[in-house]
Each structure stands twice: as C-alpha cells, then as structure tokens.
C-alpha cells in the first residue's frame, strides 16, 4: 500500500510519515504542490493525503489535475480551513474525505484504513473486530476461529455495525442497509436482531451498546488502538 503525503509543515509531515510507516504502509512525501503534482503524474498511489494551503500550487489545483488525468486514487484532504465552502469545494473537486487540523491520530489512521479499503473494494473482504471476524463475501462470521450461527439478517446488521465500529449507527441506517435484500424492516425487528446478536456475541466480550434515542454502537475491542 503506497501513500503520498503532501504537507508543507515539516513537523506534521514527519509525524504522519512515521505514523503510517509504523502501520506498514509505504509512504512518500512532498512539501509543495508542484512537487506533488509531479510525483502523482509519474507514479500511482493507493491514497493521497493532501494539505490545501501549499506553496507554489495549492491543494485544490493538485486535486483538480489528478482527477483530470483520470486517476481514481482516494484523496483525504487535511487542512486548517474548515468553512463549509472549503469543504464543499474540496469534495466537489473529487476528494474522498476531509479532516480538519488539528486531528486525532487514531481518527486519521481509521480514515486512511477506510479509504484504502474502499479503493480496493470489489471482491469480498474480511472485517475483524477483536476476536470476531466477518467474511462479507461468504456471509459468514467466526468468533475466535469458531463458526457462529447467525441468520442472514443478523449478519447484515453485524456488517453495518462492524463497518462503523466505534461510531453510532442509527436504526434508520440499519433499516436502509437491510432493505436492499429483504422486505421492509421495522425498527422493532432491528431491536430483535440486535438483541439476538448481543446474546451470541457478549460471551466473547463483543459489546453492542444501545445509545439512547440514537441507535447502536459496536464497542471497540478493549485492546485495539482505534
């Protein structure tokens, strides 16, 4: 996995490079816009982390040129600007995600993982969460290597929760995800699926928390960093 970091602040750039290298990515860095444009037109990357306020060629222009060349490389914009217009402009130009400085390192790492996964999607992939593994293509779940008895709907709910692990998923989102391959799913039905999942997962220390008035959240595994 190759990542290009385009950031003109040397301290931040160094921090990002070291953090991502320690997660086993191959990381290159550029310190200004024209250098980044040059590197991107020469080689291919799995992800670009792009600052907007760059010397010589600003981030918007780097992004515009990248997309004009037809590249679909995911781009995560990292910037000190946070007005709505800046955000919209970045996303309109084809950025995939947007993070405002200063950010939490785990948050950045999680988004990098998500973007890279999205960039490679096509075949099935394995989602893992502590002792729990979900094969999204084979629609199978394993708990500590042992197959877990789950209905198709329960797997559907679990997949959504695992994809957004550590964040709240509301009932509407769950119902929407399940709607595609099932009949209409009521909020009550979702409560039932979540209840069943809980019963099966809790002995292994996987917790699905109810967030009052909002939805459910798959709690992060105790030992995981993110």
């Amino acid at each position: 996995m190759r990542i290009l970091i385009v950031e003109d602040d040397p301290v931040l750039s160094d921090g990002l490079v070291r953090s991502l290298k320690s997660a086993d990515y191959a990381v290159d860095s550029a310190i200004d816009g024209s250098e980044a444009d040059h590197i991107l037109s020469a080689g291919s990357y799995d992800l670009v982390i792009l600052d907007l306020g760059l010397p010589r060629l600003d981030g918007y222009e780097v992004l515009r040129r990248l997309r004009r060349r037809g590249s679909k490389t995911p781009v995560l914009i990292l910037t000190a600007l946070d007005s709505l217009e800046d955000r919209v402009k970045g996303l309109d130009l084809g950025a995939d995600d947007y993070l405002t400085k200063p950010f939490d390192l785990p948050e950045l790492e999680a988004r990098v993982r998500a973007l890279i996964r999205r960039g490679q999607s096509g075949g099935g992939s394995l989602l893992s969460h502590g002792a729990l593994t979900l094969d999204t293509a084979g629609r199978r779940a394993l708990l500590a290597g042992e197959p877990l008895e789950l209905s198709a709907r329960e797997i559907g709910v679990l997949e959504v929760l695992m994809l957004r692990s550590g964040r709240v998923v509301n009932k509407d989102q769950l119902a929407g995800e399940l709607y595609g391959w099932d009949e209409e799913v009521s909020a009550n039905a979702i409560e039932v699926y979540v209840h069943r999942l809980r019963r099966k997962l809790e002995p292994a220390g996987v917790t699905i928390r109810t967030i009052r008035g909002l939805g459910y959240l798959l709690e992060k595994p105790a030992h995981a960093q993110d």
């Binding site: 320690s22 946070d82 939490d104 509301n170 008035g213 909002l214």
Partner: protein, 467 residues
C-alpha cells in the same frame, strides 16, 4: 429604557420657554385689563349717577323762598330702584338746610366757597359702613340771583361696579388663558410631530441587534437630522471595519496555529505510543493534554470569531432541521462520551423541527454545549440532548447530572475565559460565550438552570420556530 435622571427634553424646554413668558404677559395684561375695565365701568355708572342727580335736580322747586323737592312717590321709587341697587340721595338747600333724602349722607369732601353752580363732583365715600360712589351737583336756586345753590347728592354702592368690572375682566382673561393653553398644546403636539423622525430613528436603533452594523436609513429624515444620522453611519461603518479587521486577525491567527498544533499533536501521540511507561511517558501524557487544550482553544477562537457581530465569513441563513442537527451532533460525540464512560443520549423530537439559521454556527453551538456537558460531568454520569417543539419556538436543551453550577456563577459562565473554580477540568472557558454569541445571532434565548431534581445543569436554547 432605564433613566437615572429626568432628562431635559426638547419638548419640555420649548414648552417652558413659551409658557413662562406667556404667563407673565398674561398676568400683566390681566392687571391692565382690570384697570381699563374699571375705568370704563366707572365712566358709565358715573354718567348714570349724574343722570339721576339731574333728574332729582329738575324736581327741585322754590316756593316762597323755600326750597323743596317735588318728587312724587312713584317717581321716587323709579329713581331708587335701579338694576344696580338702591340709590341714596340727599338734597340740601343753599343754607345747608335739609330739604329731602338721607340726612346721613355726608357732604362732598370738597366744599370750597368757589364751588360753582354747575360744578359736578364725583367722589368715593362711606355710608353706614358701606363703600359708595357719589356725585354732587349744585343747582343755582335762581340763576343770576346770587342766592346760592342747592346741593344734590346721589350715591350708590360700589359693589355693583366691582362686580361688573370683574365680569368684564373674566370675559377677557378667560379666552386669553385658553389661547395660551391652546398654544401650549399646539407646541406640545407640534414638537412631537417635529421630533417624530428622531423617535423613528431611536426605534430603528433600539430594535437592532448588536450584530447589525449596517447604515441607518437617511431617506425619511428631515434635513436637520441627517447630519446626525450621517455621523452615526460613519461611526458604524468605522466600527464594522475595525471589528472585521480584528476578527479576520483572530481567524487568521487561529488558522495559522492549526498546522503547528496538528504537528505537535501527531508527534506527541506517536512518541506516547513508543515510549515505555515511566517518567518520559508521563511527561508526554501531560504534553498531550496541553496540546489538546491548545487545539480546542484555537477551534473555539475560530468559532467565536465566526459567531461575533460583524463576522463576514460568508454564512448564509437557511432553513434547518434542528432535531436532525442535534441527533447528528450527539451521534458524533458518542465515542468521546463513551471514552469518559458517560451515557450520552438523545430524547425528544424524532421528526423535524425547523428553525432559521446558519448550519455552521448551529453546529458550533451544539458542539460547544456537548463538549461542556461531557467535560464537566463525572465518569458514569449522564448527558441528554433534547429538541422539543413548542407553539412558536423550538427548544434545544442539553442536560447533565454533573456537579452543577452554583447560582452566583450562572451568569458569569457566559463570560469569556471564565471558569468555575474547583471543576478540575482543562476547559478554556469559551464554550458558553460562543453559545451565547451564536444564540443571539439567531434571536435565540439561552437559559441555564439546575437539572432535574436540582442536580446537574441544563442549558436551554430557545429558537424562534420557522414555518
């Protein structure tokens, strides 16, 4: 409008300047009027008195050298009964001998020997304790005979004349007084009308929010008021420029600080991961806390610069679903709440709750309320966000069961950089200042009260409801 001292108004001043002199003029004119009235009344009554005396005089007859008055009873009655009261008369012969009438009537004060026959003399006197006006008329007994003259005195009480003069005065002074009163009213009304543009101006300024620094309208103002409005507009525009400059500076500074703080934060977190527990690790943890605090402060400064009056960072007001914004914001804050073992939830409107607002600022407001509630609530506590639709308002509330804010501190927490002592948390004290600033730009009311059962804190923000 609080008024410590009764201010002088133009209206009152004009009235005072007009009414004072008018009143003095009126008083003087009343005195003069009375004098004139009295003179003419006297003139008229004296003439009537003289007529009566002449009537009496015609009836004075001389028979055998004896002077007598040939006045039949009916004529006497006619003479005596006048509308001005009873007449008193006395006829005295040439040798001071009594002829007819009231012998108690005194002789005229001036009885010098050279008193000629046709001399008519008016004088004031007293008769049985009453003030009277009298006329003395001397009629020769036989013209040219040198036999002297008969003295005829006729008198009447003066009360009638006084009464008449008073009535004349009253009829003159009353309309004058009324005129003055009317003039006063006309001035009162006229000044009010004339000053109407000023009160319109006042209304316009009063109804403005402190965020509105746009120019006041000069169009309807009279020429005299225009320079004032002009000067005010000039001040407003300079103020707006100064505020905008300052805010741009704060915003720029905050933006510029973000990148180095991001670098500091990233490096600190990396170092923290790699350092074994012990001295350096602890130091790094402190460093991390300080960095987080700086990051938050910078974000809040930006929020504040955005929310302040005159901020022209290009935010448009649009129709917003506050219920949805609140649910989204609460959802975003759940991970941070869970990290502190705080039960964060939403309870309230499930559908839509429309308000008018700037989405960016409303998100800032929600973020600051949630941040505060989560930051100041102990582990294991509870924070609940609610959006409730009322008749013409949409009420957002964030309630926690934390330590609460003591009564005397409740107003002060809205001040910038104010923190409640003893909370032991690394806040910078800008959160509620931002909330208030944003609320006021949305014509929303902020109230801070103890939570349910007197525990914790509930912050309510009441927005006007949009259709």
């Amino acid at each position: 409008m609080p008024r410590t001292r009764r201010a002088t108004t133009l209206r009152r001043q004009l009235i005072a300047w007009l009414a004072g002199p008018l009143f003095i003029l009126w008083s003087v004119s009343t005195v003069i009027d009375y004098d004139i009235a009295k003179r003419f009344v006297n003139l008229a009554y004296d003439r009537a008195l003289l007529d009566a005396a002449l009537d009496v005089g015609r009836q004075v007859k001389v028979l055998n050298d004896r002077v007598y008055l040939d006045l039949p009873e009916p004529a006497l009655q006619i003479l005596q009964t006048r509308d001005s009261g009873q007449l008193i008369y006395l006829v005295t012969g040439p040798d001071h001998d009594y002829v007819s009438g009231e012998p108690d009537l005194q002789h005229p004060p001036d009885e010098s020997p050279e008193t000629t026959a046709d001399r008519v003399q008016y004088y004031d006197d007293e008769f049985r304790g009453l003030v009277i006006r009298a006329v003395a008329l001397r009629v020769p007994v036989q013209p040219g005979s040198g036999r002297g003259a008969v003295l005829i005195q006729v008198a009447e009480r003066v009360t009638v004349r006084d009464e008449f003069a008073r009535q004349i005065l009253l009829r003159m002074a009353l309309p004058q007084g009324t005129l003055i009163l009317l003039a006063g009213l006309a001035v009162w009304y006229g000044v009010g009308r004339g000053l109407a543009p000023l009160s319109t101006l006042r209304g316009e300024i009063e109804s403005r929010s402190h965020r509105d620094l746009s120019a006041l309208s000069e169009e309807q103002a009279p020429r005299e008021v225009r320079p004032l409005i002009h000067a005010m507009n000039d001040l407003l525009s300079r103020l707006a420029t100064a505020i905008a400059t300052q805010q741009r500076f704060i915003a720029d500074a905050a933006h510029q600080l973000r990148t180095p703080i991001a670098g500091l934060k990233t490096q600190t977190e990396l170092a923290l991961r790699q350092s074994p527990p012990g001295g350096a690790h602890e130091a790094l943890r402190q460093l991390q806390t300080a960095t987080e605090q700086s990051a938050r402060l910078v974000n809040q400064l930006l929020s504040l610069a955005r929310a302040e009056p005159g901020a022209k960072l290009g935010h448009a007001v649009e129709r917003l679903d506050l219920a949805r914004l609140a649910r989204d914001a609460t959802t975003d804050w759940v991970p941070r709440a869970l990290a502190r073992r705080i039960d964060l939830g939403y309870d309230g409107e499930e559908g839509t709750a429309w308000i008018e607002g700037d989405p960016f600022l409303v998100r800032d407001l929600l973020g600051n309320l949630l941040d505060n509630a989560i930051r100041y609530t102990q582990q294991g506590g509870q924070v609940t966000v609610r959006v409730v639709i009322e008749r013409d308002a949409v009420r957002l509330s964030v309630e926690d069961n934390g330590p609460g804010i003591p009564e005397p501190e409740r107003e002060r927490v809205f001040e910038r950089f104010y923190r409640v002592l003893g909370t032991g948390t690394e806040g910078c004290g800008l959160g509620l200042a931002i909330v208030r600033e944003i609320a006021s730009s949305h014509r929303a009311e902020v109230a801070l009260e103890p939570g349910a059962g007197g525990r914790g804190t509930v912050v309510r923000v009441t927005f006007p409801r949009a259709g």
